[in-house]
Symmetry: C2
Subunit: 416 residues, 2 copies
């Protein structure tokens, strides 16, 4: 089925190797005749103060529930992963979850404060300027909503898994702030609270806070976007998205788990005794994926993203025969812990039907499951795949999404 020709890979099948081409024109001021590149019309507004994309680029977020949505209030926006390159998600395309009752606060950063209190020696109230006096770190981390669940009726990767994104986050390690406040020995939990209408809050283990949580004010080189918590967001690397409290305004240090709105609500898988907030290994093929089309037989680059809440991606395998055989893909980006990694593999499509899959193994040796393995593990064979929102199943839906390539080159959801 696969790809590498012994001596030389021929990526381009036809019409592009021009053996008889006369070398044309000069270099420099001459009006070269080669490679006509569209009309170089000028538009000087391209030199604006805050630049824009080419008008030929139209990739956008789409709502998870087209208006009017079934609940009337939830407004989740999905990242167009199928168009992504590299590992950074442009902030303008970062997924957004806006839950029932949550409007985006319009926060003046000059007035914003973060309070750290509870079981500490010295409660703190910090302005944004105060925070910037602490040493910062910049780290690349993914964020994924635990509701990122591929279903059989999803047509595109964006619909199926558009609730994961990856950014360079800049902020202050929470451990530094907690040390400044002086945490009591008996403390075990923190309760993090945002400034939105319903004061979304969540209980998180203090041990994680002391390890790698970030109080982040920067995203991809500029202030965190309003949809992602401007001016301050809690980053909890590798934990389910909801833990990453937006519009962060309060951290209370406690010796117990609190049943806050978010634990009460359907979103988290937290159990005060067995914390399962950490997400498992996962990967998606971004090209070719549902709704895309292979125009002809020949060489293609299978491309995708892999990540894990358990740490760094150690290996990504790709199958082009529905999981019967697997080959190691190449990692084509930097590898960061709890971050998207870009993988790729050459593939020579022979024009036959095929099913493409990718499988991530992380630094802990955890392996991404197939749907069947996932369902067996959770003992919910039918509901996992077919129920619209099996919220009672509080798991990271990290099963493999198969993409089916038809003879005509059309690619569609293999869960169907």
């Amino acid at each position: 089925m696969n790809d590498r020709e012994p001596a030389r890979r021929r990526f381009i099948k036809k019409g592009v190797a021009l053996a008889g081409l006369a070398v044309v024109g000069g270099i420099g001021f001459t009006n070269g005749q080669t490679g006509e590149s569209g009309l170089p019309e000028t538009h000087s507004k391209d030199l604006e103060a805050y630049g824009e994309r080419s008008h030929f680029v139209t990739s956008v977020r789409i709502p998870q529930f087209p208006a009017p949505d079934p609940f009337g209030l939830e407004r989740h926006m999905l990242t167009p992963l199928q168009d992504s390159v590299g590992i950074i998600t442009p902030s303008s395309l970062h997924f957004v979850n806006a839950h029932i009752g949550v409007n985006i606060p319009n926060i003046n950063p000059e007035q914003h404060r973060l309070m750290i209190h509870g079981m500490v020696d010295r409660p703190l109230i910090l302005s944004m300027a105060d925070l910037k006096r602490f040493p910062s770190v910049s780290r690349v981390h993914y964020l994924e909503c635990n509701g990122n669940k591929a279903k059989p009726w999803h047509k595109t990767l964006q619909e199926a898994n558009g609730k994961t994104s990856c950014s360079e986050w800049t902020g202050v390690p929470l451990a530094l702030l907690l040390k400044e406040a002086g945490v009591h020995n008996e403390a075990k939990w923190i309760i993090a609270e945002g400034a939105e209408d319903n004061k979304g809050a969540i209980s998180l283990p203090l041990a994680k806070a002391m390890t790698d949580m970030l109080v982040a004010y920067g995203q991809n080189g500029e202030p965190v976007r309003p949809q992602n918590g401007f001016p301050l967001r809690l980053l909890v690397p590798g934990f389910e998205g909801l833990c990453n409290v937006k519009w962060l305004r309060r951290i209370k240090v406690t010796d117990q788990f609190y049943m806050t709105y978010n634990e009460f609500d359907r979103y988290t898988s937290v159990d005060p005794k067995t914390t399962t907030l950490e997400q498992g290994p996962k990967s998606v093929i971004t090209f070719p994926s549902g709704g895309q089309r292979l125009p002809e037989r020949g060489h293609y680059q299978i491309s995708g993203l892999a990540w894990s809440g358990g740490g760094a991606v150690r290996k990504v395998e790709v199958s082009t025969d529905s999981g019967r055989t697997w080959k190691d893909a190449g990692i084509q980006s930097s590898i960061h812990r709890m971050a998207h990694a870009r993988f790729g593999m050459d593939w020579n499509w022979d024009g036959k039907e095929g099913v493409l899959m990718s499988r991530c193994t992380d630094e802990l040796g955890q392996v991404q499951p197939t749907v069947a393995e996932f369902a067996r593990f959770w003992n919910k064979t039918v509901k996992v795949v077919l129920a619209p929102y099996p919220e009672e199943l509080k798991a990271h839906h990290n099963y493999i999404i198969p993409w089916r390539v038809d003879r005509d080159g059309n690619v569609r959801n293999g869960l169907a």
Copy 2:
């Protein structure tokens, strides 16, 4: 002069440690009274398809030459480095050089072609779709214009050094394409040409092309921006900015250096015999920098960016006493070769006058020079610093920019 207190660092000088603060309110649905965060007015347009910044964030590029500029045509846009966090420059804020006679081409990517010809067995003409069939890589690299020269009359870091930016670039290694074309043994140079009006072209060593040049179509997770070469840009990591040909449409493989427009013009330091296109080690302090103000004595975080065309940043030192003593700064970001790195150092400002400097050492052991060292080396003591545009001096102006902190906390250019 400096900073670390033996037991505990106290970053916050006053008014924020609230020993007697009553812990208030509940968590969850209660109307918490803590940390009033501005008014959470709602604006649902924040869930647009392509998101925007907070309206409180106003950092923008500024033109190098305020209109009307002295030459009437050059329109360079400078990155607001003083507001930067982390190492990624938002694509909307990436610096832009638009030289005399160069308008931004409005290229339809469907029509764009890259030709590779000259001393090759199989000349190629590649569409964007063809290019995406090759294995890609994503790498973080800086780009800096060699005209990024701090002068005594520059008031801010943006004015003084706003022509450096850093992105995650995605594309195909040029070496792969050249192997596909079959380069002749006698070949020594490539001539790279863009699609702009004057067909900007430049001669580059073939050895560099076979090492790490990228034919890049992606920038920070989306297509390269028009101002930066949409749909295709040549990335020449660590070489002066001009080498990174925008709107790339042609690569000719040759056995000799060509005197193209750009060699003829004043911008490059290329010498066909001794290639000096590679830039040296450099760093800038972004905070505190010219035009900023320290509101009071106490702890601050000196923050900045370091990079080198010679590879990875090995060390950054910071001086707060005008270069008499130096201390190692911490590296607070990932380190990539030929990329910005973020450094930081705690500093306890005692309210006295001081001069802040940073100094980069790269993996080759090269050390960033002071202005005096730079001038001595180039034997052009006066012109380097005082001449407006000493274009005859074809060097990477990587000398240290000192920032002078006055007693009132105002920060200004120490070259003055």
